[in-house]
Assembly symmetry: C2
Homo-oligomer: 194 residues x 2
C-alpha cells in the first residue's frame, strides 16, 4: 500500500496512537481537485477540514470592489479549514481554491469531535494546532501593522520558500497586502542590492 503523507504526518505528530491513526486514515476520504477548482465557495456551509496530501491550496476573500485577498496558502502536509463556519455552521466568508492539481483528505468535523472526546492525546494535538494557527495569525497582524512591503516579502521568502516558487506573484502580493506592481518593484530592488 502506498504511504500517504497524511499517514506519515499522523504517525510523527500524534504519537503512540496506532488505533486513532488507523481510524483517521480509514474514515477520511481522499478527493482530487484540478488546478482552478474550488473546494469551498463564499456563502457555502462546510463541516469539513482538509489535509493537503499533494498540491497547493489558497484561502481568500473577495471584497466589495471585487478584489481578492489571500488569507493563507496550504501546501502538502498542511491543514486547511474554514474555522468559523465549521464551528458554528455559518456560511463561509472565504473561498478555498486549488492552485495546483491537489489531493486532499477530507476530515469531517464530527470525526474530530468524537476522537477528541475519546482520546486526550488527539485532543491536545488538535488544540495545539489551533494555538499554532493563532500564533501565526498574530505574527502576521504585527507584520502588517509595522513592517514595510519589502520586509514582509523578505520574511515570506524565508518562511515559505517552497510556496513562493509555486504560486503566481499576484497571489503572493495579495497575501502581503500589496499590489502586484508593488511586489514587482520590491523584487527588483532586492535583486539589485544582491
Amino acid at each position: 500500500m502506498k504511504t500517504f503523507r497524511f499517514k506519515t504526518y499522523l504517525t510523527s505528530n500524534v504519537e503512540s496512537l496506532e488505533s486513532i491513526n488507523k481510524e483517521l486514515l480509514n474514515k477520511c476520504k481522499q478527493q482530487q481537485f484540478k488546478k482552478g477548482d474550488y473546494l469551498l465557495r463564499e456563502g457555502e456551509i462546510s463541516k469539513t477540514s482538509y489535509f493537503v496530501e499533494d498540491g497547493l491550496l489558497r484561502q481568500f476573500s473577495v471584497d466589495d470592489k471585487g478584489k481578492e485577498h489571500v488569507i493563507q496558502f496550504a501546501p502538502e502536509n498542511w491543514f486547511m479549514a474554514n474555522r468559523e463556519g465549521e464551528c458554528f455552521n455559518l456560511p463561509s466568508s472565504y473561498n478555498i481554491e486549488a492552485i495546483e492539481d491537489t489531493t486532499v483528505f477530507i476530515i469531517e468535523k464530527e470525526l474530530i469531535e468524537n476522537l477528541s472526546k475519546t482520546n486526550s492525546v488527539f485532543l491536545n494535538f488538535n488544540i495545539e494546532l489551533l494555538h499554532k494557527h493563532i500564533a501565526s495569525l498574530q505574527k502576521r497582524i504585527t507584520q502588517l501593522q509595522s513592517k514595510t512591503a519589502k520586509e514582509r516579502y523578505l520574511d515570506f521568502i524565508k518562511t515559505y520558500p517552497d510556496v513562493l516558487m509555486r504560486v503566481p506573484q499576484t497571489y503572493v502580493a495579495s497575501y502581503l497586502g500589496i499590489t502586484p506592481e508593488s511586489l514587482s518593484r520590491v523584487r527588483k530592488e532586492i535583486s539589485i542590492n544582491k
Copy 2:
C-alpha cells in the same frame, strides 16, 4: 455572595454545567492589578489565561525600533491569553498590561486541560473560543490588507465602541496600524463630514 461577571459569563455560556462552573470559580483565583501594571512581560513563560472581571487589558509587542504594536484589547467578560506560550511553554512574544485598574480571574492551563478531558461540553466551549479567536484575527488581517485607515477606524468604532472611550488614542492608532497623528487626522475628517 457577590455575583461575579465570571460566574454570569460561565452560566450563560457553558450551559448545564453547574459542577464545572463551581470548580472553575473555586479554583480560579482573583488578582487585582493597578493601571500600568504588567500581567506578563515579553520573554516570560506563562501557563495561565485571564478572564477580565473588571477593567481593561492590552496585549502588545515591541519591535526592534522600540515601537509598540497593540494586538488586542480585553475589557470585562473577555479572555486574554498568551496562546503560543501557554501551549508550548515558550517565552511570550507579547506584553500584557492593565490600561485601567483591573481584576482578573487566573485560569491555569492545567485546569482547562483537566476539565476538557472530563467534560465534553466544556471542551467544545473551549474549542469554540479558539475558533472565534481565529475568525476575528483573520478578519483583522483582511482589513489590514485592504482597507484604508479611515475604514479600519470606522469599523473599530462600530465593533468596540466601549473600548474606544476608555483607551488612549495612541493605543487605538497602534491597534489600527497607523500613527497617532494619522488617527487624529482621520478623526478630524470624520467629524467634519458629519
